[in-house]
């Protein structure tokens, strides 16, 4: 007869207490990360936006959305579409159409970064926390690339079709370009993609990344309250 291993090892802390600790630290960390973001958002977001531009430019070029993307003085982007203006105000005809993507709009995509940081700062703490936070920030950067491509595609659809956005009624520019218009379905999908990336995805992203990078947190929040074996003896 051999000694059986303990199948019910003592739990370090009661689930209820762990959840309260999680909520308290997440709340405090949210305050701290929002304060940090208020001070450093221009610098932090500018770095991410500047680093995203070459990749967006390459992808936009490869997909035929744009020829090149320059940095604008305000920190935003100037998108050279390569589409020729065929009618518009005097002096514009024969020139290439360009689009401005404001820095404010690009920063808006990163507005839920403090939530991600706060959730990651809350317990439980596993190995490689810093690495996981860095991976999450890289995912935010990748999201910035995808969302800005969606924004460029939607602006080009509005410009080429010379019709208001089907989603937010954004008005077309005061000129027309020579290009094949988007089909009705493609025009709607362009609006849907921009709406989803600007107004919906930023709410999911921090929570999804937190759950993916910290699966222990989900286990902690879902653990049933029960008397620990050590306490029941």
């Amino acid at each position: 007869m051999t000694a059986e291993p303990d199948m019910n090892p003592p739990v370090a802390a009661a689930p209820g207490a762990s959840r309260r600790r999680f909520a308290l630290i997440a709340f405090l960390a949210l305050g701290a990360s929002l304060a940090l973001w208020a001070v450093a958002q221009d610098a932090a977001a500018s770095v991410m936006i500047a680093q995203a531009r070459p990749l967006v430019e390459a992808l936009a070029g490869a997909t035929g959305l744009a020829q090149s993307i320059d940095a604008a003085p305000d920190g935003g982007w100037l998108v050279w579409t390569g589409r020729m203006i065929v009618s518009g105000p005097p002096g514009m005809e024969g020139t290439t159409a360009k689009l401005a993507i404001s820095a404010e709009g690009l920063q808006h995509l990163l507005r839920t970064t403090p939530i991600f940081l706060a959730l990651m700062a809350a317990p439980p703490y596993g190995a490689d926390l810093i690495l996981r936070v860095a991976a999450g920030l890289a995912a935010f950067w990748l999201f910035l690339v995808i969302a800005s491509l969606a924004a460029i595609n939607c602006d080009i659809a509005i410009m080429v079709n010379h019709a208001p956005s089907p989603v937010d009624q954004k008005a077309p520019p005061n000129f027309q370009v020579s290009a094949r218009p988007y089909s009705e379905a493609a025009f709607f999908l362009a609006g849907l993609a921009r709406y989803a990336t600007f107004n919906v995805a930023p709410f999911i992203l921090p929570v999804a990344l937190w759950l993916a990078l910290k699966p222990d947190a989900l286990a902690l929040l879902m653990r049933r309250d029960q008397i620990s074996p050590s306490a029941s003896r």
Binding site: A26, W37, Q41, R111, T112, Y195, V200, F203
Partner: protein, 189 residues
Amino acid sequence: MRLTLLGLMTTTAAPTPVRPVARKASPGLAFVLTFAALALGGVALMILPSVDQAVVRPFTGLLVDVCAVLLNAFGANVSSNGGVLAFVGAPGAVLVANGCNAVEVCLLLSAAILAWPTTIRARLIGVALCVAAVQAINLARIISLLFLSRYSPSLFDFFHHYVWDAVIVLDAVLVYFFWMRRYGALAGG
């Protein structure tokens, strides 16, 4: 009811008895795919001009009206007009546009609740509970932004874009996990 994406049961036609080959997808994957389909479908429906005119804009106007009623009940002199909530005879006003009505967060929460494998009753309770919780916070958000527009315009943008978005997401996460712990396991999900 348990949702499985590829929960197909197949049998071979061999003469000897064989064990059925069960091929089940991860419940996690099924949840993610169902959630994504519901969320994307909901957003696509919501942005249709007809739905926007018939549902979203009237709902936004209703939020503004409720804010006005609440504030006037506490002695503030405010008026609501469409999506605009404003102090009467004093500076300070907010325009509640699409994107400021928390409809997107409610839609995401509802999609997450409906995608979770539990009973219909638990899902309906979850949708009602979560929408109420998020919209209660959103009313506080609109009212606070109205006062910020009057007394501290420099803080308005930061609170509008960052603080309240963060609070609403945290509120949504907490109420969702509360619902999952309270009701989510009714069907053994």
